[in-house]
């Protein structure tokens, strides 16, 4: 004989269970658009009672004790997570490289006619006009103006490059500029994520003491890990309580106890100083150096190499792109200066003298009359410091341009219409290694790099997008599913209530049986 109270109890468990199940459905629907939310599912099981059954059918009936929720399962894709996070690191690395090339390409954007190529064209045009009338002071002044504009255009590009670079990786020698650079703000937000992870770790350790999982904390943990993986190739080791050990290239960063070290950014100079003081082989680091520090104490001095991917890796690597383009640009400046200085100051070149009528004078003070010099004390010409020689800006300075050239150095000092030297300058445009070709090579290099980075980054974007969809499909909330569940649980609830009420009626009948 089964016990009526036990039947009543079975309907009671069903009512409780279905009410809780509706609670979970409600939570799923509420979070259907929450980022990082993983759908939760109620796992039901029949309550098991371990009574000896033997040959007694009543005992057998009594082993049925209703329904219970054994766990709230969180739809997760843990097997995908580490792969996904790796892809995210790669994505932000490639994106950053693409950004770098975009920045560089923008500096060189010449289609609007404001750039270096336009200045070069104007310069050659001025040389051509100069060759038409070599003794015309106005043509000479126009030449000097064009040369000066060319130098300034190089300065401008170099400055733009430096500014963009500084805003990204900071000036490796200046802590102030470093503190306002992208690398520093990125490191700061990474540190904030580390703090969040540490606090989630603590909460997990406190709350996930048994075998059941704290689903919302795990959601939060996965979200933070995804965010952290943007910055670099972090390795995660998930503990039994759900907390995470985070490390970067073997260096412990976050443990269950808290943050082991925060990322700092220091200047290359400071690092060099440290190397000298500690007898480490000096690498002459001129760029930003990432450190790991705790409580003002530096634990690891230079961990740049550990960031071989991710946003921080991308920013650190952008340094190379800037450096390489800057070197090319400096070579171009040097080539411009060398080309024209050599022709201007070669033996047999003569300049104009208008004081005693129009005659030619030899360039005796060769060094003084170079067209391009530096505007600082440095002797190497770079894109940043190339400038027109001040001699030409003085009154009558234009005379000092050597238009005439006599191959055997037997000058006719009245030959003021001799423009052999300018013709030679003009002819540099037709050489196979002309300045414009060098410039084209630089542009080609930039555009090719931009194109390939854009493609790589787009490809990686779609990889991440696909993974994202895949994860979302497996872990997200499907409204129809939830609504079906809702109806299912509602029906079960209604049916259980019905059973409960029938049972109640039966009991009632029993109670009134003796009346």
């Amino acid at each position: 004989m089964s016990n009526l109270f036990s039947t009543l109890h079975i309907s009671g468990t069903a009512l409780n269970v279905n009410q809780s199940a509706i609670n979970i459905v409600s939570n799923n629907i509420a979070n259907m658009n929450t980022e990082g939310y993983h759908k939760q599912k109620v796992n039901l099981a029949a309550v098991t009672v371990g009574l000896p059954v033997g040959n007694n059918v009543n005992s057998q009936i009594n082993t049925n004790a209703g329904v219970e929720i054994i766990s709230i399962e969180r739809y997760s894709t843990n097997f995908l997570n580490s792969y996904y996070n790796d892809q995210i690191s790669e994505q932000s690395y490639l994106n950053e490289q693409k950004n770098t090339m975009t920045n560089i390409a923008n500096v060189f954007d010449d289609l609007e006619g404001q750039g270096l190529d336009t200045a070069l064209q104007a310069f050659y045009e001025a040389i051509n006009n100069f060759s038409k009338s070599p003794n015309d002071l106005n043509a000479r002044r126009a030449f000097i103006e064009a040369a000066s504009a060319l130098a300034k255009s190089m300065n401008k590009i170099a400055k733009k490059m430096n500014d963009t670079e500084e805003s990204n990786v900071g000036d490796g020698t200046n802590q102030y500029s470093l503190n306002h650079s992208k690398i520093k703000t990125t490191a700061d937000s990474l540190n904030r994520s580390l703090d969040e992870l540490a606090s989630v770790n603590k909460m997990l350790a406190n709350s996930q003491t048994g075998s059941l999982e704290n689903n919302t904390l795990l959601d939060k943990r996965d979200l933070i890990l995804k965010e952290i993986s943007q910055y670099g190739d972090f390795k995660t080791e998930i503990q039994s309580d759900g907390s995470v050990k985070l490390s970067l290239g073997g260096i412990k960063v976050v443990s269950r106890e808290g943050v082991e070290g925060y990322f700092g950014v220091q200047t290359g100079l400071k690092y060099d100083e440290y190397c000298q003081n500690n007898g480490i082989k000096n690498t002459n680091e001129s760029n930003a150096v990432i450190t790991l520090e705790k409580d003002g104490e530096i634990l690891y001095q230079n961990i740049n190499e550990k960031f071989d991917t991710g946003l921080i890796g991308g920013i650190l690597d952008s340094e190379n792109s800037y450096e390489s383009i800057r070197a090319d640009l400096d070579n171009l400046a040097q080539e411009i200066a060398d080309t024209f200085n050599e022709i201007q100051t070669r033996e047999g070149a003569y300049y104009l003298e208008t004081n005693n009528g129009n005659t030619l004078l030899s360039n005796e003070n060769i060094e003084d009359y170079k067209i391009f010099t530096t505007n600082d004390s440095s002797s190497n010409i770079t894109a940043e410091n190339i400038s027109i020689n001040q001699v030409f800006q003085e009154e009558n300075g234009a005379e000092k341009l050597a238009a005439a050239y006599f191959p055997n150095n037997n000058p006719d000092i009245n030959a003021v219409g001799n423009s052999n030297n300018i013709t030679e300058m003009l002819n540099t445009r037709n050489q196979s290694d002309s300045i414009e070709k060098t410039y084209d090579e630089i542009l080609g290099k930039i555009t090719a790099a931009y194109e390939s980075k854009t493609n790589e980054s787009a490809m990686q974007d779609s990889v991440v997008q696909t993974l994202d969809n895949k994860i979302n499909e497996q872990t997200g909330v499907n409204l129809n599913e939830e609504l079906t569940d809702l109806i299912k649980f509602q029906n079960a609830f209604t049916a259980s209530a019905r059973v409960f009420s029938v049972c109640n009626n039966v009991l009632d009948t029993l109670v009134h049986l003796g009346e």
Binding site: F406, N414, A415, V416, N480, L483
Partner: protein, 317 residues
């Protein structure tokens, strides 16, 4: 079992597709409104390089075209001047022909001599023609008059000295007319007219003039020369005049060559310009057609999005 699909994954896919259609639509709109397919180097890096190169070539062609017209102008001035001098030399030759007539008295000869003096001065003046502030027959000595009349103590013309650059020196003035090709603009005075320096050589029409004048003076002064010496000079005049005509026809052929260069530059320019417009500018018909279809695509994706979102069990409970 059918794969699970979640509302948010479908939503994000739909939004992504809609973004793509919108991007395409916005891109085409920008192209049409700006008229350019490529507005920045980032729009199409490789084509941008082509555009930069083409613009540079066009700039060069403009320079060369300018140079060609400057050259042509100066060549015209040069041939005109030489023509003028040929005309005057012809007059001197005519005078010489009449002077070789032995019936002429010394009075007549004297008046011829006076006219010759005037013609010499006028020829020298023409040879000292200044164009664009430069003396065109002085080689590269463009700031001093190439010819200087030498006088003796009695103020009589005894020579015509050339002060320009000599034919064997650095006399050429050049301008670039196409890639690496430099065309000489000028002829030297010695090449066209020769000179008659009292301390140096005597050649060309200048030499003939002075020799003719000397012969005349000698005949008038009874200094051992006679009318037959004048007749001998006539051949020299013919030769010098032919020489000048020769220079002129040489300049004429240069002028023809320049005209041809200008033509070929013009056609290159046309080609480059059409290439540039093909590369950089928008083909309106095509782009507007595309614009309409992208508009439809965008509208369709928006409609799908709204329709999809209204489809759920929610409507049935």
């Amino acid at each position: 079992m059918v794969n699970r699909i979640t509302t948010s994954s479908i939503n994000s896919a739909l939004i992504q597709n809609m973004q793509q259609s919108y991007n395409k639509y916005a891109e085409l709109t920008e192209q049409i409104s700006s008229g350019n397919k490529i507005n920045s180097i980032l729009d199409d890096p490789y084509k941008s390089l082509d555009i930069i190169n083409t613009n540079r070539e066009l700039n060069k062609i403009e320079i060369w075209n300018d140079n060609i017209s400057a050259l042509t102008n100066e060549l015209n001035q040069t041939t005109d001047t030489i023509d003028l001098i040929i005309e005057k030399a012809q007059r001197v030759k005519d005078l010489a022909t009449s002077a070789s007539n032995e019936t002429f008295s010394s009075d007549r000869l004297n008046s011829i001599l006076e006219e010759v003096d005037i013609l010499i001065e006028s020829i020298v003046q023409s040879a000292n023609t200044n164009y664009n502030d430069n003396y065109i027959f002085g080689g590269t000595n463009t700031k001093i008059p190439p010819y200087e009349i030498q006088y003796d103590n009695n103020n009589e013309i005894i020579g015509i000295k050339y002060n320009g650059t000599n034919q064997d020196g650095e006399w050429e003035r050049q301008l670039e007319i196409s890639e690496g090709i430099f065309q000489t603009v000028n002829v030297t005075g010695t090449e066209a007219f020769g000179e008659a320096d009292i301390n140096g050589t005597s050649s060309g029409i200048m030499g003939d003039l002075i020799e003719f004048k000397n012969t005349l003076t000698n005949i008038i002064d009874n200094n051992g020369q006679n009318y037959s010496d004048i007749s001998k000079k006539l051949d020299d005049f013919t030769e010098s005049i032919n020489k000048m005509s020769g220079v002129n026809s040489k300049l004429g052929s240069i002028s023809n060559k320049l005209e041809m260069s200008a033509h070929s530059l013009d056609s290159t320019k046309l080609n480059l310009k059409s290439f540039l417009s093909e590369t950089q500018e928008v083909d309106l018909t095509e782009t507007i057609a595309e614009w309409y279809s992208s508009q439809y695509a965008y509208q369709a994706s928006m409609q799908v999005f709204t329709r999809f979102n209204s489809m759920s069990l929610l409507n049935y409970i």
